[in-house]
């Protein structure tokens, strides 16, 4: 006689368990962890290059784990800024999961970090489902992609804490409506923060760097006072 057993648990509970371990390890060092997600070509790697270049002038210690299906190209680009950058080559998988991040994180130099950036595989769908132990998911939407993405890919806009409206200097050359993009992102996620960025022209990455600073302050406030 068949018996029905009620089960209430997330399908990705093993991923979530590993993510919780990672989150605990990062919290012990008060490391801010940001998971950058976008479609391919939105500008994640360039944003990280500009970010690392700016962080060189600070005492902050950062590292990047960057995911792609193939090639070490992104890690090669990111290593030039003097911070550890490791490639996670997924070999076909369209997203990073917590176990990939955990394995890669374990091979970073053992020094405590202020910021760990995770650059996810370029994809607006699958990465949204996976907790990587991050403090915040950051979705990058470049204006050349179109302003309809928040309603077409609501999952990631719902789960992101911040949306970077990127390549904003190109706005006059596109039909992208920044008001529509922001309004639609806030439909799926009323609390989402929005910062405008460009790697090549004004307004630069300043507002994003200030956002990171704010998140670092929150992260440190959550634990003991910041190191002297």
């Amino acid at each position: 006689m068949a018996e029905r057993v009620e089960v209430r648990e997330g399908v990705l509970k093993e991923n979530d368990r590993i993510a919780a371990e990672l989150r605990g390890a990062l919290a012990a060092d008060r490391t801010l962890c940001l998971n950058l997600i976008s479609s391919p070509g939105a500008g994640k790697t360039s944003i990280l290059e500009g970010t690392l270049a700016a962080l060189r002038a600070t005492p902050l210690r950062a590292a990047v784990l960057t995911g792609d299906i193939q090639t070490e190209r992104d890690a090669d680009r990111l290593k030039r800024y003097g911070f550890p950058a490791l490639q996670i080559t997924t070999g076909g998988t369209c997203h990073l999961d917590a176990s990939m991040v955990k394995r890669s994180f374990a091979t970073l130099p053992p020094d405590a970090l202020d910021i760990l950036f995770i650059e996810n595989v370029g994809n607006l769908v699958c990465p949204a489902s996976y907790d990587l132990g991050e403090d915040a998911k950051v979705v990058v939407l470049s204006v050349t992609e179109g302003d309809d993405k928040p309603l077409k890919y609501p999952g990631i806009f719902r789960r992101a804490r911040l949306m970077l409206l990127h390549k904003i200097d190109l706005l006059p050359h596109t039909r992208f409506s920044r008001d529509a993009a922001v309004a639609d992102a806030r439909r799926v996620n009323p609390g989402i923060e929005v910062v405008e960025t460009s790697c090549l022209a004004e307004p630069g990455l300043g507002a994003w760097l200030r956002w990171i600073d704010g998140q670092l302050a929150i992260k440190r406030g959550a634990g003991r006072p910041a190191r002297g």
Binding site: A2, E3, R4, V5, E6, V7, R8, E9, G10, V11, L12, K13, E14, N15, T93, C94, H95, D97, V125, C126, A128, S129, Y130, L151, P154, G155, I156, R158, R159, D184, R187, V188, P190
Partner: protein
């Protein structure tokens, strides 16, 4: 296409629960798939079939329940399926509703022999 790894997670969890119930054969696995969970029901069904083929779970049925996005009005508590995520309550017109369903991805039941 992350449905293959999701199918594998479902199968792992089903085996784990079946083992807790004396290792009985799994006949049916119930899974709730939220509308914005990012999971394609068709490809999950396909991947599930591939994952269980020639294993102890071969023949187990996957019972996928699609869960539409549902909002609850912050003013009158009316629940509704929003049009393109608009938070305007169709009952009272209040513009502040929050999502109460639609982004889940979870096991709901197992049917064991």
């Amino acid at each position: 296409m992350h449905e293959l790894s999701i199918a594998q997670s479902i199968v792992d969890s089903a085996r784990e629960h079946a083992a807790l119930h004396g290792g009985r054969r799994v006949l049916r696995i119930g899974v709730r798939v939220g509308e914005i969970s990012g999971v394609s029901v068709d490809s999950l069904e396909f991947c599930f079939g591939m994952t269980v083929k020639d294993t102890d779970l071969d023949g187990a049925a996957l019972d996928l329940e699609r869960v539409p996005v549902r909002y609850r009005c912050g003013s009158c508590a009316h629940e509704f399926h929003p049009v393109e995520f608009l938070a305007d309550c169709p009952a009272c017109g209040h513009a502040g509703a929050s999502m109460v369903a639609g982004d889940e991805l979870g096991l709901s039941f197992l049917e064991l022999e």
